[in-house]
C-alpha cells in the first residue's frame, strides 16, 4: 500500500465501523515543543487521520486561532526539519499523518528531500492551501515518486468542471472546504451544506472530508451524513490554547 492509500483506508475503516472519519488538526509543536509527540499520540488515538500543521509566517488562509498557534510555534523554534526529526525519533504514532503547510517552507526544504523525509516519517499526504492545481506539477511529481499524496481542496466557489478536475487529481482524500472563508470562523456551517457535500461526494473517487467551521459533535454528525470524514482544526487548537484536555474534547466528537 502506498502511503497515500493508508489515509483512505483509515477513513473507510471508521465508516465501516459506523462512524464518521475524524481528522483532528494540530499545529506541530503547539502549545509546547517538548510535548509535541505526546500531544500527537493523544490526538492520534482519538482521530482516524491526523492533520499536522507546519507553522508559517504568513498563514493567509487561516483565522486568528491558527495564526496565533503558528506564530507561537515559530517563536518556539518549530520548523519543518524539526518536525521530521521528532517524528523520526518517535515510535509509531498510531494514525496516518497528513501534513498541512503553505508552499514556501516546502520549497525551501526542497521537493525531493521533502518526499523522502515524508515517507520515512509517516507523512502520507500534504495539504498546501496556497497551491492551486495549476502550479502543483513539480511538487506532485516529487511526492508521487515516494507514494506520498497531494490532497486537493474544493470550495463552495469551485465550478463543477473544476471540481471534477480536482477530485480526479487528489490523493489521500478530497478536502471539501465547507464555507467561503478562512479557518476559525464562528458563523456556523452554511444552510446549503448538505447539497454541496452530496455533490462533492458524488464526483469524488476518494473519500471526502469536510473542514472549516466544524466545532462540535452536532457538526460532525451533520457533516457525516454527507461526507466520509470531518476535519476539526481551530476548535481543537483553542482547546490546546486554553490548556484543556484534547482527548476529552475529541472523544466528545466521536
Amino acid at each position: 500500500m502506498h502511503p497515500h492509500e493508508k489515509i483512505g483506508a483509515a477513513i473507510a475503516a471508521a465508516n465501516d465501523a459506523g462512524r464518521t472519519g475524524l481528522v483532528p488538526f494540530i499545529t506541530a509543536g503547539y502549545p509546547d515543543p517538548d510535548t509535541f509527540i505526546d500531544t500527537l499520540r493523544i490526538v492520534a488515538a482519538a482521530g482516524d487521520v491526523v492533520e499536522l500543521g507546519v507553522p508559517f509566517s504568513d498563514p493567509m488562509a487561516d483565522g486568528m486561532t491558527i495564526q496565533r498557534s503558528s506564530f507561537t510555534a515559530i517563536e518556539n523554534g518549530v520548523t519543518l526539519a524539526w518536525i521530521f526529526d521528532q517524528l523520526a525519533a518517535a515510535e509509531d504514532i498510531g494514525a496516518p499523518l497528513v501534513m498541512m503547510s503553505y508552499l514556501n517552507p516546502l520549497m525551501a526544504f526542497g521537493y525531493d528531500a521533502l518526499a523522502v523525509r515524508a515517507r520515512e516519517t509517516g507523512i502520507c499526504a500534504f495539504i498546501v492551501p496556497d497551491l492551486p492545481y495549476e502550479e502543483s506539477a513539480d511538487i506532485r511529481a516529487a511526492l508521487d515518486n515516494e507514494g506520498v499524496g497531494l490532497i486537493q481542496l474544493v470550495t463552495p466557489a469551485t465550478p463543477d468542471e473544476r471540481l471534477k478536475l480536482l477530485a480526479g487529481a487528489s490523493r489521500g482524500f478530497l478536502y471539501a472546504v465547507t464555507i467561503t472563508g478562512i479557518t476559525g470562523g464562528d458563523a456556523g456551517l452554511p444552510n446549503d451544506l448538505a447539497g454541496y457535500l452530496d455533490k462533492v461526494s458524488s464526483l469524488s473517487p476518494l473519500p471526502v472530508c469536510a473542514g472549516f467551521g466544524i466545532r462540535k459533535a452536532e457538526d460532525v454528525i451533520n457533516v457525516g451524513k454527507h461526507a466520509a470524514g470531518a476535519i476539526v482544526g481551530s476548535a481543537l487548537v483553542e482547546v490546546l490554547e486554553r490548556g484543556d484536555d484534547p482527548e476529552a474534547f475529541l472523544r466528545g466528537l466521536r
Binding site: S57, D58, E134, T155, T158
Partner: protein, 418 residues
C-alpha cells in the same frame, strides 16, 4: 541575490520582455510570477483575468481611463529640470513629478484604473491594503470617484507613522481597518486583505497597490503605471533634447519603478537602477533590500525574490519609509534583475533622510521618504559618473512623512549658509 539564468535564456527573456509578450499565459516572467492562491480565490482570479482581457485594452476602458488621468488625476505630470541639484551633483538632473498627481503619488494611476475596472466587473465593494497610506488614500479617492465603498487594511505600526494619511482616508469616505497580526506593517495588511477577499470572492474587488501578488496583478499594475515612463520618455525628448543616460526609481513592491522602467526597457543604452530600502544595516531584519539580499520563494501569491530564513519563513523588515518596508518584490523585477537589464541597489535610512533634505533645500520639493531613497542612490552614482543626464522618478510627496520627519530636526537656514 542574483538568480542564475543561463545567458541564452536571459537574452531570450529580455527580448520577450521588450517585445511586450511577458507575462506568458501562465502569468510568468521567465521563472518568476505565477498564481499561488487559496482554492477559494481561483475562480475570482480567473474572472479578473477574463475581465482584464476584455476591458483593459478596449477603446471604451482606455478612453475613460485616459480621460480620468487627464481631468481628475492631473496628467501628464510635469518633468522638472533640477538646476541647483544638477550643479551640486555635477550632472544634469530631471525629475518625473508623480508627487504632482492627485493625492500626491503615483499610486493614483493604478487606483483609478483598477476602480474603473472593478466597476465594469460589477464589484459591490473594494478592499485595499496600504503601507505608507498613499495607496490607501488613492484607493479611497478613486472609490469615491467611481461610487464604490472602500475598506483599507493597514498595519498598526503604519497607522502610527503615517497618521495624516489615515485621516485623509477617513475623510475620503473609506473605512480603515487596523491590522494587529504578524509584523503589523504592509505584509500583514496584504495577508489580511487576502483573508477578507476569501470570505467574499464574488462581490469584493481587491485593489492591490503594487506590482506584486498573483497573476494577473503584477501585469495589471504595470499596464496602469506605464503612463509614467511613456510620458517621461516623450518629455525627455521634448524638454531635455534626448533620453537620459540613467533612470532611478525607488522599489517597494515595485509599481512606480516598473511604471517608469517598462517603457524604457527597449532603449538599451539607458541604464536602469531600482533602489530598495537599506534600513539601518545589512543584517536580516535591518533592511528591506529584497533583491539585493533575498532568495527565491513564494510570498502572497507569486514566485519572486523574498526575504526569508532557511526554513522558508518570511523575515520582518525595517525601513524608515513605510512604503518600502516589505519583504517581497514584484516578480517582473526579479526577472529584470536576473536578465541583467535593471540593477538593484539600496540606500540607508540616513542616506534617504539626507537626500530628502538636500532636495528640499535645492529645488523646493519635499519628496516622500520612499522616493528619497532614489535620490540618495542617484547622488552616489552621479559622483562616480560625472556629467551624465539623470532621470529620477519622483514617486510622491513627503507631506505624509511629517510625523517621522519631525523626529529629525531640520537644518535651519541651510540655504542661507550654503
Amino acid at each position: 541575490m542574483k538568480s542564475e539564468l543561463d545567458a541564452g535564456k536571459a537574452t531570450a527573456l529580455l527580448d520577450a520582455s521588450i517585445a511586450g509578450t511577458l507575462p506568458d499565459d501562465r502569468g510568468r516572467f521567465g521563472p518568476f510570477g505565477g498564481r499561488y492562491v487559496p482554492e477559494t480565490l481561483v475562480p475570482a482570479f480567473v474572472r479578473l483575468e477574463q475581465g482584464i482581457a476584455e476591458h483593459l485594452h478596449s477603446d471604451a476602458f482606455q478612453e475613460e481611463f485616459r480621460s480620468e488621468l487627464r481631468t481628475w488625476v492631473g496628467r501628464p505630470t510635469a518633468l522638472t529640470f533640477a538646476p541647483r541639484l544638477s550643479e551640486r551633483w555635477g550632472a544634469e538632473v530631471w525629475l518625473k513629478r508623480e508627487d504632482l498627481a492627485h493625492t500626491g503619488a503615483h499610486k493614483i494611476n493604478n487606483a483609478i484604473g483598477q476602480a474603473i475596472l472593478a466597476k465594469k466587473l460589477g464589484a459591490k465593494r473594494i478592499i485595499a491594503e496600504t503601507g505608507a497610506g498613499q495607496h490607501g488614500v488613492a484607493s479611497a479617492a478613486a472609490c469615491a470617484r467611481v461610487g464604490l465603498p472602500c475598506r483599507v487594511y493597514m498595519g498598526a505600526v503604519d497607522i502610527e507613522r503615517q497618521a495624516p494619511n489615515v485621516d485623509r482616508m477617513l475623510r475620503l469616505g473609506a473605512e480603515v481597518f487596523p491590522v494587529e497580526s504578524g509584523d503589523k506593517t504592509l505584509r500583514a495588511a496584504i495577508d489580511e486583505a487576502l483573508r477578507e477577499w476569501v470570505t467574499d470572492p464574488a462581490g469584493t474587488y481587491y485593489l492591490i497597490g503594487s506590482a506584486v501578488g498573483a497573476h494577473p496583478y503584477p501585469y495589471l499594475v504595470r499596464e496602469l503605471q506605464s503612463v509614467i515612463g511613456q510620458e517621461a520618455r516623450q518629455q525627455m525628448l521634448d524638454l531635455a533634447g534626448g533620453l537620459p543616460d540613467v533612470a532611478f526609481a525607488c522599489v517597494g513592491g515595485g509599481s512606480n519603478a516598473i511604471g517608469l522602467f517598462y517603457p524604457l526597457l527597449g532603449d538599451r543604452d539607458i541604464e536602469l537602477i531600482g533602489v530598495e530600502a537599506g534600513g539601518t544595516g545589512d543584517g536580516l531584519g535591518q533592511n528591506a533590500a529584497t533583491l539585493a539580499t533575498g532568495t527565491p520563494g513564494v510570498l502572497q501569491g507569486s514566485y519572486s525574490i523574498i526575504l526569508q530564513d532557511k526554513n522558508g519563513n518570511v523575515q520582518e523588515t525595517h525601513s524608515i519609509s513605510a512604503g518600502l518596508d516589505y519583504s517581497g518584490v514584484g516578480p517582473e523585477h526579479a526577472m529584470l534583475q536576473a536578465v541583467g537589464r535593471v540593477t538593484y541597489v539600496s540606500a540607508s535610512d540616513d542616506e534617504a533622510l539626507d537626500a530628502l533634505e538636500e532636495l528640499c533645500e535645492t529645488e523646493g520639493i519635499l519628496t516622500a521618504l520612499e522616493t528619497a531613497h532614489a535620490y540618495a542612490s542617484a547622488r552616489r552614482w552621479a559622483k562616480e559618473n560625472p556629467g551624465k543626464r539623470i532621470l529620477i522618478g519622483n514617486s510622491g510627496r513627503g507631506d505624509k512623512d511629517m510625523p517621522t520627519l519631525t523626529q529629525y530636526p531640520a537644518r535651519t537656514n541651510a540655504n542661507a549658509s550654503a
